[in-house]
Symmetry: C2
Subunit: 304 residues, 2 copies
Amino acid sequence: MSLLTVGTVAFDTIETPYGKVDYVVGGASLYASWAATFFADNVHMISIIGEDFPDSELKALESRGATTEGIERVPGGKSFYWAGKYNDDMISRETLVTDLNVLADFDPVIPESGKQADYVLLGNLTPAVQNAVLDQLEGTPKLIVLDTMNFWIDVAREELDKVISRVDLLTINDEEARMLSGERSLVKSAKIIMESGPKYLIIKKGEHGAMLFHKDDIFYVPAMPIPEVIDPTGAGDTFAGGMLGYIASQGKVDFETIKTGIVYGSAAASYCVEDFSNDKLKSISKEDILTRVAKFKKLVEFKS
Amino acid sequence: MSLLTVGTVAFDTIETPYGKVDYVVGGASLYASWAATFFADNVHMISIIGEDFPDSELKALESRGATTEGIERVPGGKSFYWAGKYNDDMISRETLVTDLNVLADFDPVIPESGKQADYVLLGNLTPAVQNAVLDQLEGTPKLIVLDTMNFWIDVAREELDKVISRVDLLTINDEEARMLSGERSLVKSAKIIMESGPKYLIIKKGEHGAMLFHKDDIFYVPAMPIPEVIDPTGAGDTFAGGMLGYIASQGKVDFETIKTGIVYGSAAASYCVEDFSNDKLKSISKEDILTRVAKFKKLVEFKS
């Protein structure tokens, strides 16, 4: 069993109503791999960083079982950098700076050790890069998960459609589902999107939770109500990584396993947002996630 | 066991992306009583109507077990009338006409038969009228439910605070919870609001479902994903009426019973929005609601 995460490993400067942090570590592959390694061994990270990225963060991931061989370090280069400010609603945000830096020339190369990956998570990146990763896979993955965003729907629709047709599970938010399908109804959107390739679709609704679609079945998981969301950055990647890590640990892919995976991913994400960067994820254990999974069960259970 | 609903019985003109209907029946007490009578006998309606309101609609409610003795009919008067248009998102809406008509002089009088009500639903009305209803009760209700809206928070805060302090369960939407408490976090809002009186708080989130708060416990029910919402008018009242009707049928009030009641209310509301006015509610049976309650269970169940 091996799991591959592809995505940024980067620096973020984040301002929320709760404070501001400068040049903290972040990125889709970093959050996803951190979450996946709660459950899965043998997590291969595919990314690109500059000379500035702290070795200690990679060592911390390696000590959790991740392989960072697939992270290219560009001598003299600078890591991808994003700066943003969240509004009071903690949902909408303003991007202040996007410096692609080394990401501008990202041409992912999967090391031999990762080419047979059973589980693949394509984090939000240009669809051409996501397709280039799939081209290099040599095994038959049990589950390929794709994350994307509105920007790629707007500017790279053709290449995006191609990668969507090649994956098993797509995760997008509600507005993106409506953009992709041209349908207001999420139930109808889901049908249209699944006809274009993915057997499974997750529609993320931020503070309102997430929905999983598969054929005519629907599963709904709320977001864990927590007193204070400090920083939503990375929640989606943590969700996806935690989910896929759980699924990989089960060794099988079906609706029931993905449902439980989504709850595990939501539990991991609910911790992620309780502090800036991956600070909270660093302070919790697998047992903490299990405790919160039990809370999710209690949150929705009723007698009928 | 008896249940009292107080609220409008009225005409609506509604336009949604799916069509337009003119002068259809509506109103909080009408929707709530229709939903409550799926489960509860002995539902007393307290409202006011003009000479124009169709007798057939009252007869239909009576044939379901409702008592309309408490609906004052004003000779020569016109019933409350609301006209509105929903935007494409089916959430935001524009009010085109509000004619109070007979509602302007609504001074509710509870008939003797209703004064010992065990379950009371105060539909959205001016808080002074809601307090006037509570003043007339002679028994010891097991559960008093209050619905209100942002308008009253803005213009009648003092009178609203008074009625809030007198009820057991308050239902409001997420933005109203934030207005009432001055807190962004719903978990913190809930604590603040419950300190002002209600032991239970329901925060409605429209297409994202609803949350029940009680002490440190939280229950979350999603909205049933349906392919097409035709008309959201009356969904909140149907939800409250269905919930309270179920609770009344159980004869006890505790967190577990209210949880299940919320699912029953959500099931009723999910039918309500599938057609204009109370058209869909007229075509379904109690068994249809039970079928959807089972769907709610399936929607959130997972193995852990």
